[in-house]
């Protein structure tokens, strides 16, 4: 038994922690920006900003879907494989025109999402296991369809990958538009509310008559479609289809962006603004370390530190 020693310190500390949980990501982004402006040569060039933004776009698009899955207390590990599947499908169908190819890629993502969602909603498989199965199967399928790297020589795809509108790359515009759309869906639609309720307490949602299965399936379908679309964007940027490496470890980057952005893994809450900031934070972190000639392994360690910090901050939530 200890003496009663409660100063103002603990109350202030609690408040500080709460602020950090809410706005920590934004602070992190700000700090990295300032550090880079101070120490990285040529950081403040428009060219550099473009590069960073274009690189972050596909990650963000995947992370948006991931945020929805995590909001239901689930996760989707198959996103990277869906990107690979998507890039294979594009190469295969580009001969029929760019729109057909795009449609095929999205359909691929939707089918994988349907499989994930059905396993989770009807069979009752844990999301992590269900999507792990599709993660393995998806990349396998992608490699069967397109065994090795293939150039994509399509003017429309090239335009999508490197064109811009008033100086803002298409990729960035599209990712930003999707972020706004998903934020709107989460906040203003019945589906969004139901998604959060299911993530917070599934038995309660069920007894309240919510269409739990339909919502879960839709969540994984959206996640799959967004990942497939991210695959399209990445293909356009690289002007090549490479199902062997495209999207590898993407699930980890996406989960990191979502979690660092303040969306709890326990579901019931989705923060899209935070997810955007989370994706940017990781991108900046990677870029900073690369620019200062640190080996890639450092990037991974730095990412790990950021994740641990974010999870630690989240752990304190709701205590006391």
């Amino acid at each position: 038994m200890t003496e009663l020693t409660l100063g103002r310190v603990s109350a202030d500390r609690a408040r500080l922690l709460r602020l950090l949980q809410e706005y920590g990501v934004y602070l992190g982004v700000l700090v990295l920006l300032l550090v880079n402006i101070a120490f990285t040569p040529h950081f403040l060039s428009g060219e550099n900003f473009r590069t960073q933004a274009v690189q972050v776009a596909p990650v963000l698009v995947v992370a948006l879907g991931m945020a929805l899955a995590i909001g239901t207390e689930g996760v989707d590990l198959s996103v990277g494989s869906v990107m690979a599947l998507s890039t294979s499908l594009i190469s295969l169908y580009l001969g029929y025109g760019v729109w057909i190819a795009l449609l095929a890629a999205l359909l691929g993502g939707i089918v994988v999402g349907l499989a994930n969602g059905s396993l989770v909603a009807f069979v009752g498989v844990q999301p992590i296991v269900a999507t792990l199965a599709l993660m393995v199967a998806g990349r396998g399928l992608a490699l069967v369809m397109l065994p090795q790297l293939k150039q994509v020589n399509d003017p429309d795809m090239a335009a999508l990958g490197s064109g811009d509108l008033l100086g803002v790359p298409y990729l960035v515009l599209i990712a930003a538009g999707l972020a706004l759309l998903v934020a709107f869906v989460v906040r203003r639609t019945t589906f969004g509310r139901q998604l959060l309720a299911i993530g917070d307490s599934r038995p309660a949602a069920q007894l309240a008559g919510l269409p739990v299965r339909r919502v879960l399936i839709l969540v994984y379908v959206l996640c799959g479609a967004l990942a497939a679309f991210a695959g399209v964007l990445a293909t356009a940027r690289l002007t090549a289809s490479d199902p062997t490496s495209l999207g590898t470890l993407m699930e980890l980057s996406a989960i990191t962006a979502v979690v660092v952005g303040g969306t709890p893994l326990s579901g019931g809450r989705v923060r899209i603004g935070g997810t955007v900031a989370g994706a940017v934070l990781i991108q900046l972190l990677t870029a900073t370390l690369i620019k200062h000639d640190l080996p890639p392994s450092w990037t991974q360690i730095a990412q790990a530190v950021v994740i641990v910090l974010a999870v630690y901050a989240a752990r304190e939530r709701g205590k006391r």
Binding site: L4, L6, S201
Partner: protein
């Protein structure tokens, strides 16, 4: 034994306790009473290290000033607690729950399961509970779970035992057992702090009483000699004149029931749970469901609401058959269920009061899948006022509300659906005297408006006065139906006690 002074607790949105002075003496049963949200549970949680008090207050235990950083600290110091919401591990076995943190160890430090199971069985048998202690806890009903919590609390060598509404899900028989345990604790010189909204219980078992209102102590002293009416008026902070005798239920009695049943259940059968349960609910009547714990009352309600799959049998609402085993289908047909276990199956703790109330009615409050915020605001506003839900704002998380207010939020959720049939499983559990009368009045009004109501209540008085008819269940089957003048406590007790099948005509 345990005393606090100048204790306050401020949550981000509300000051739950304000300068509380409180002393629990050895060998004394101390009642802690107050309206929903008065701060009773918060005080208990401060005493046990779940929450941290604001700086400035002191907590004295056994003559020394202490502060408990975690519930474990408090437990090891000899303070054991039965929380308002059962606080055990649902997937673990009953025995493991009983011994959690102090499992009997064999050689090599491994858990000695055989001894643990034996001792668990004995401890529970002493409380009159006979269950397979190897089964996961969640397979037990809420009442039985509460008895496990009780067994756990008294099994450890406690010097102070805190009980936050321990009887809210117990049968009369179990309440008697509980009181036996409390008396034994008192004789052993243990300090007991007892929170309850049931006046009868307080007068039956407690020596001293402390009344909390809006986080402040408004009265403390011996209970004997304190008039019931005076106690209620202290709790509510209203004049004695304006407080009617709240011990009586607020039901008016008979209703004009329609002829044609609005809901008809025929031979509902679910293996091991229900066998051929048939019943009718007419519009404008309150049908009571009587029976012991595990007699199938909650299961019947769940089966009607599509939340429990049935093997055979059918449910019709206003002549149309309802697809079985589907909650959405039942809800569309106009059946609403207020579930028994509000913590696990009712509230969505992380969402706000507003979202929780609107949850089930959401599709009806949206256009093209977009939520109509203004309409939600109107509905939420109406119900918060009508049920007097106490929250800092409609945007407060439901998980932060006091137990009674959570119950009201759930009730609001279902009333917002404008149902045809309302199934109420323990609707007034944990609700304070004022609000209880209000909810009972509401049930009456709803029936008068032509709603069919099914009422399940462990509170005999409530069941008898509230119901026009009572169907008695036993082992998942209907054993008797009491109508009109037959609805008396005596008849009900006899029907419940009779062996299955015998009293069926």
């Amino acid at each position: 034994m345990l005393s606090v002074s100048g204790l306050s607790k401020t949550f981000p949105s509300v000051r739950a306790l304000d300068g509380v002075e409180f002393t629990a003496r050895a060998g004394e049963v101390h009642a802690l009473v107050g309206e929903n949200g008065a701060g009773k549970s918060t005080l208990i949680k401060l005493l046990t290290g779940v929450h941290r008090p604001d700086p400035g207050g002191t907590l004295t235990y056994d003559g020394r000033e202490v502060s408990f950083a975690t519930p474990l600290d408090a437990q090891q110091a000899g303070i054991s607690t039965i929380y308002q919401e059962v606080n055990l591990v649902p997937l673990m076995s009953v025995a493991r729950n009983l011994f959690l943190g102090r499992e009997p160890r064999g050689r090599l430090g491994l858990i000695d399961f055989r001894r643990m199971h034996r001792e668990a069985e004995r401890a529970l048998a002493e409380l009159g509970v006979r269950v397979d202690v190897r089964r996961p806890l969640r397979e037990l009903g809420v009442g039985a779970q509460q008895m496990v919590a009780l067994a756990r609390a008294v099994a450890v060598d406690a010097r102070v035992v805190l009980m936050d509404e321990p009887t809210s899900s117990l049968e009369p028989r179990e309440v008697a057992t509980l009181f036996g345990v409390i008396r034994m604790l008192r004789e052993r010189g243990i300090a007991v702090i007892y929170v309850s909204h049931r006046m009868d219980e307080l007068y039956a078992i407690c020596d001293t009483v402390t009344v909390l209102r809006d986080g402040k102590v408004v009265h403390t002293g011996p209970l004997a000699g304190l008039d019931r009416l005076r106690l209620v008026s202290l709790m509510l902070g209203r004049d004695m004149d304006t407080v009617q005798d709240e011990g009586l239920t607020k039901f008016t009695g008979e209703h004009d029931a329609g002829r044609e049943p609005v809901l008809r259940a025929e031979e509902l059968t679910a293996r091991h749970r229900l066998s051929e349960v048939s019943l009718d609910i007419r519009p404008g009547e309150v049908l009571g469901l009587g029976g012991l714990l595990g007699s199938g009352r909650s299961e019947t309600a769940k089966a009607l609401a599509g939340a429990l799959p049935v093997d055979s049998g059918r449910v019709t609402v206003a002549g149309t058959r309802v697809r079985g085993g589907s909650t959405p289908a039942a809800i569309r047909a106009g059946i609403s269920l207020l579930p028994e276990d509000r913590k696990a199956e009712g509230i969505v703790p992380g969402l706000s009061v507003r979202e929780n109330i609107a949850l089930a009615a959401l599709p009806g409050l949206s256009r093209f899948g977009l939520v109509d915020e203004a309409r939600i605001d109107r509905i939420v506003d109406t119900f918060v006022k009508r049920l007097r839900i106490k929250a800092s704002s409609a945007h407060q998380k439901v998980g932060e509300l006091s137990g009674g207010n959570q119950q009201k939020v759930l009730l609001a959720r279902w009333l917002a659906m404008n149902p045809k049939v309302l199934l109420l499983d323990e609707p007034t559990r944990g609700i304070d005297v004022g609000a209880k009368a209000e909810v009972q009045k509401l049930i009456d009004e709803l029936a008068a408006d032509g709603l069919g109501v099914l009422l399940i209540s462990s509170d005999m008085e409530e069941l008898i006065e509230g119901s026009d008819r009572v169907v008695v269940l036993k082992d998942g089957a209907v054993v008797e139906e009491l109508t009109g003048d037959q609805v008396t406590e005596d008849r009900l007790m006899r029907a419940i006690a009779a062996p299955a099948g015998e009293s069926r005509d």
